[in-house]
């Protein structure tokens, strides 16, 4: 715990807490839309941005935000057209992103292996004061957008055609989600790392929905699990000297297992107290 007296640890913790809140707040919409893996793909693309930053001696966070945003908007435009070839186009984009990143980072002056590993898996010691300002500003922007636009984003992700007929600016909202994904990926890259960033968007949501019944409660619970796992992940990884991103994700997975267990136990108890009614299963499954 005395580790938290170090300023670099405090910065890492603050960064992780912001991301722990913001990532599931965005992730819930991606999960609802069955795009759970999109954050992962954008993370791959962001690595190219990191390479560009290192090569040109500009802030890698900044270049990563830019490149990831371009990638995310590109992915959204492909998705919008709904072509079957979209799947392949995404794969090409993702592999191109990570390969480009590895090559560019290798070409830069700062090409040590450990540097690349820091971006891929996160690190406790890389968060600078300047980074924390960027993470804080962008993280709060993501949070505000995801919370303030919840009814519209819920409607969009629940039923895009219905949202269109409601007169919602569907395309603008889709682009907003894409840009937000890129931003979240990039700000999380310092602590969680690009390869695990998506886990923090998805796993807390998966855990929360084991025990919740509605969208709003799922969102709140996911944010709670996210911030808890991120905070604990930093502390634990400092104590036992493990990678912070991986530790955080493992803790979130523990929360998922715990929630699943709790839901199972509750179901069994409910069944005991109420003998089964002969209810027909729904013949049409409506989503949401």
């Amino acid at each position: 715990m005395e580790l938290l007296a170090y300023p670099f640890m405090q910065r890492a913790l603050i960064g992780a807490l912001i991301i722990g809140l913001a990532a599931p707040a965005l992730g819930i919409y991606l999960v609802q839309r069955r795009l759970s893996l999109i954050g992962d793909g954008i993370g791959h693309v962001a690595l190219t941005g990191v390479g560009v930053g290192l090569l040109t001696n500009t802030s890698p966070v900044l270049t990563a935000v830019l490149v990831a945003t371009i990638g995310a908007v590109g992915v959204e435009l492909i998705r919008e057209r709904g072509r079957t070839s979209g799947d392949l186009a995404l794969a090409l984009l993702f592999y191109g992103g990570i390969a480009g990143g590895v090559v560019l980072v290798g070409l830069s002056d700062d090409s040590s292996n450990s540097n690349l590993m820091q971006y891929l898996f996160g690190s406790l010691i890389t968060t600078s004061v300047q980074d924390i300002a960027v993470i804080g500003g962008l993280g709060v922007a993501v949070l505000v957008a995801m919370l303030a636009l919840r009814p519209a984003l819920f409607a969009l992700c629940n039923d895009e055609e219905y949202a269109r007929v409601s007169g919602l600016p569907v395309r603008t909202l889709n682009i907003l989600l894409a840009v937000t994904t890129a931003v979240t990926v990039t700000i999380a890259m310092r602590t969680v790392g690009l390869l695990l960033v998506s886990a923090l968007m998805v796993v807390p949501v998966a855990a929360a929905q084991q025990v919740t019944r509605g969208f709003r409660t799922t969102m709140a619970a996911a944010m709670l699990i996210g911030v808890g796992a991120a905070g604990a992940g930093i502390v634990v990884s400092a104590e036992i000297d493990t990678a912070p991103g991986a530790t955080t994700v493992l803790l979130a997975l523990v929360a998922f297992l715990g929630a699943t267990l709790a839901a199972t136990v509750r179901r069994v108890l409910v069944r005991r107290s109420h003998p089964p009614v002969a209810a027909e299963p729904p013949d049409v499954v409506l989503h949401g």
């Binding site: 009814p151 039923d159 219905y162 949202a163 509605g214 409506l286 949401g288």
Partner: protein, 261 residues
């Protein structure tokens, strides 16, 4: 009085394929119009084109007297899709789904107020599901889920309801429940355009039927007597699936349900 929906020589389709080639249709205020036709004839495509979900290739569409491209009063339209979109990853309560129906009226930057909450409850009690407001939609039966979608459309207090096969695969109790809802809506002066597979309890409500066939409106008028025109031989070549053809070969043919009327 301006028509609620005015379609003139509309053509629409997907990618290379044209599904509707020349459709004209008028729906006046207070009309209840059933869109009929075999499976795959383009009934859904027609209403989706009217709503702007499928791009119009030729012709014109007006909604409430405004060209569809410039139409912005979406709160006047309540849409009940045939099935829901892809968003099924996260649980949502019945109340949350129905609350989406208020967005067109409220705008995206406002959180729901008292009027919105009251409208959601009113719509749910209209379809007889108020007691399920806090339940996850995934725990409802197919018919109850369909009623949830109708409540979502009603919650926006629209002038026009557009429904795509609201009674397909729905239990009798739910069919009765939303027949009553639609009757109340029409009785209050609402306009309804709905795709129907079989008439069921909705039959007394239908003022006019239009039959989509071969990319056009092949028949229009008061609901025809059972065994309509498209049971003719040679009709089924337009249908890709033989089993669907049997089910949909004639929407007006007598079935166990329609015989009762």
């Amino acid at each position: 009085m301006t028509n609620v929906v005015e379609v003139r020589h509309a053509a629409a389709g997907y990618d290379g394929r044209e599904i509707l080639s020349d459709v004209s249709l008028s729906v006046a205020p207070g009309d209840v119009v059933a869109v009929l036709g075999a499976n795959g004839s383009g009934k859904s495509t027609l209403i989706r084109t009217v709503l702007g979900l499928v791009p119009l290739r030729r012709g014109e569409i007006e909604l409430f007297g405004t060209p569809q491209r410039r139409f912005r009063q979406w709160q006047r339209i309540g849409y009940v899709p045939q099935r829901l979109g892809a968003g099924s990853g996260v649980p949502a309560t019945v109340g949350e789904v129905v609350a989406s129906g208020r967005l067109a009226r409220r705008g995206i930057f406002h959180f729901p107020g008292a009027a919105d909450k009251a409208a959601v409850r009113e719509a749910l009690s209209d379809v007889g599901l108020l007691d399920r407001i806090g339940d996850p939609v995934s725990t409802l039966s197919g018919g109850q889920q369909q009623r949830t979608l109708i409540a979502r459309a009603l919650a926006g207090k629209p002038d026009l309801l557009v429904l795509d096969e609201p009674n397909a695969g729905v239990d009798a109790a739910s069919q009765e429940a939303f027949a009553e809802s639609l009757t109340r809506f029409a009785g209050a002066g609402g306009t309804i355009m709905l795709v129907l597979h079989e008439l069921g309890p909705l039959r007394p409500l239908i003022g006019r039927g239009v039959v989509v066939h071969d990319g056009r409106i092949a028949h229009e008028g008061t609901p025809p007597e059972p065994a309509g025109h498209h049971a003719e031989p040679g009709h089924d070549h337009v249908h890709p699936h033989a089993d669907e053809v049997k089910a949909g070969i004639c929407e007006w043919a007598p079935t166990e349900r329609t015989k009762a009327y």
